[in-house]
């Protein structure tokens, strides 16, 4: 800090008044805190005005996005009403369209993604915060952060050209042995079990795995951060009482990191819901609700937008905006819940020199 020049002219005092340290009630006058009224200098006025302007512009841009989306979406929503949420087909030209199928696909892909990502990120976060030490630990922590920045199209390429081919035996094995659970069955229209490989490609399962791997780094770093914040005193207390490392983790780290686990999971869910390009590359889009997650064909809101925006008429575009708005509101609710949970679990945000 010492390389900064000292301000050449003293500005007005800005400090809040400190409580008077030595009250002297001798002459009977009561002590009242001195009111500090600061007059802004011209430079300060300019500064305050300009950052206020920046904040206002930011808010205006963002509100413009929200308001524009809602206005355009309302055209389509007023036509369909509540059936927008129950119709599966998507054909705005004939006025029958709804998000039931795409929303179901979005949520099913996101849930599969969580099924992949949560065990992996929880285990890795505990590994990084409790088991490893030294250089390897620092290296892996940077690697996790780095992986969060890998573009989604790279994951999409990997999913299409590598995973698609090698996961089919696994899908098939699950559908043979666990086919009695309805969601793992793969049947044709007449209810006959399907076994040929082409019945297992482009499924919600494959898309879910890829999206799950995409969100793992984000979840891992949030969870790890929450775990490392577990207080040292409690950790040492657990060890002093004779706990093993797992005992300490169960009694101290997991309870303290609970907020981080839930918050990280939900932030990952928010990203999984909005993911477009990897899903779009993998799935083969259909407009019916497909409960069989291993079977070919699913859909998602963002893939629908990427698929249909080009050919859409004015009204079709407004229908797409309605779908986008529903997705936005869904991620919004999830993100706000997540960040309030993470914030509540945090203590000692203030730092000091």
């Amino acid at each position: 800090m010492s390389d900064r020049s000292i301000p050449s002219h003293p500005g007005p005092a800005m400090l809040a008044p400190a409580a008077s340290p030595a009250p002297q009630p001798a002459d009977g006058f009561e002590d009242v805190p001195r009111r500090v009224v600061s007059k802004h200098s011209f430079g300060d006025m300019l500064f305050q005005r300009s950052v206020l302007a920046a904040g206002t512009v930011t808010v205006l841009i963002m509100l413009a996005v929200g308001v524009f989306l809602s206005l355009r979406a309302s055209t389509a929503l007023s036509k369909t009403g509540l059936s927008f949420f129950t119709t599966q087909a998507w054909s705005p030209e004939t006025q029958t369209f709804g998000v039931a199928a795409v929303l179901f696909g979005t949520v099913s892909i996101a849930l599969i993604a969580l099924g992949v990502s949560v065990p992996l990120s929880l285990g890795t976060a505990l590994l990084l915060s409790e088991v490893l030490q030294g250089r390897l630990r620092n290296l892996l922590i940077s690697l996790v952060d780095l992986m969060a920045a890998v573009p989604s199209i790279v994951f999409g390429l990997w999913g299409v050209y590598f995973l698609q081919g090698s996961i089919i035996p696994v899908s098939k094995w699950i559908s043979i042995w666990f086919g009695w659970i309805p969601i793992f069955a793969v049947t044709d229209a007449s209810g006959q079990p399907q076994l040929q490989p082409s019945a297992f490609t482009s499924s919600a399962f494959i898309a879910g795995i890829v999206v799950g791997l995409m969100v793992v780094p984000t979840q891992t770093s949030i969870m790890r951060e929450a775990f490392t914040r577990a207080p040292v005193g409690e950790r040492e207390g657990a060890y002093a009482l004779g706990a093993t490392r797992w005992g300490m983790i169960r009694a101290v780290v997991l309870p303290f990191g609970k907020g981080g686990i839930i918050g990280g999971t939900m932030l990952g869910l928010g990203r999984a819901l909005g993911e477009t390009i990897a899903v779009y590359m993998i799935i083969s889009p259909i407009f019916t609700i497909n409960w069989q997650v291993l079977k070919t064909g699913t859909n998602s809101v963002s893939a629908l937008i990427a698929l249909r925006y080009g050919e859409a008429s004015e009204f079709g575009l407004s229908a797409l905006m309605a779908a986008g708005l529903v997705l936005f509101l869904l991620t919004l609710v999830i993100n706000f819940t997540a960040s309030s949970i993470v914030a509540r679990s945090r203590s000692g945000v203030e730092s000091d020199v």
């Binding site: 390389d3 430079g43 300009s50 690697l143 919004l332």
Partner: protein, 405 residues
Amino acid sequence: MSDLMTEVVSTPATAPRTFLGAGLDGEDEAQREVRGFTARQRFDLVGAGAAGAALAALLFGWFAPLSGAIGWVVVAFLAFLGLYVLLISLDSGLEEVKDRLSAALFSTAGVILFGVLVFVVVYTIARGVEALSHPNFFVQTMQFAGPLDALDIGGVAHAIVGTLIQISIALLITIPLGIATAVFLNEVGGRFARFVRTVSDAMTALPSVVAGLFVYAAVIQGITHERSGIAASLAITVMMLPIVIRSSDVVLRLVPGNLREASYALGSSKWRTVWHVVLPTSRSGLVTAVILGTARGIGETSPVLLTSGVSAAMNTNPFKGPMISLPLQVFDFVRSPEPTMVARGFGTATVLLLLVLFLFATARALGGRAPGELSPRQASRARATSARDLLRIASKKLPDPVLEN
């Protein structure tokens, strides 16, 4: 009062020591090691691993009609876990078994995670080398290269230029606006600032494809009537701005309050405090925030998919005509079934990946330091400045003759 003081001072010398360890037998108590391995634990691991692999090989090769690499790994892993538990339970109790089993499971999660993530990157680079080994890939465009042409014709120079132009325009808007907004949130505050923070937090939830759809409907259909680089830049801006604001906000919040107070106490005004204390203190963090936002903005495909348009020729004018960028070029290449186009797609993805890795490494090198922590060069510069200041002050205080001595 003084009696009490002497008593307090004298007590420790005569009181019996109550803490354990050093003193009586001269032996220091060793700290309990909770992270390392003993040799015996290592043997358990290696032994169980070898036995698990052998058992799986036996099952797959001779006894059972099982096949497939994935199945082998799963069976070997389950056998390893079972044998590992057995080995530990030979000489320790239940708690110890649980402890070591949990560590083994955490390590498994880590190995799977890092294995897969590194594999995704290596796979892309390995398949991209085919296209990247032709130097024309970096300097030519796809204008005269058809889908059936070999890899020694055509390249992605136009996409690289497009990405750089689009991200530059986006940064030109995002950096001043984002950081000024973050300063507003932290240094001015008030009810409106809280509202701004809520709104920008909400916008981080905006799916990137919806940002693209907004620009498509509002800017392209409403104003320009054609896809262009500027539309893509705006879509990236809408997506990046909340990310940059949020991370800058976090960084600025970490600036210690007493640095600000010290500045105010020296009589400086608010904007001088921000300019000379708050921003320099958090400079490395702010740079990191911007670079990570940039990496997200460069890599995201869906906003540019709707807004930039596809072109095969070089276009350096962001206001006119379609301008393709790297992620969209990848997407466009792999839509073709031709093997050379797919190879080009992987090559482009590798270029994009390396660009993002480079940005990330830069962010790591610049950031990663706590606010106020200086790099060696900054520290030596700061020392030089304060030495100069000292000299200046000394020269003012002391009369000339003393200095001449």
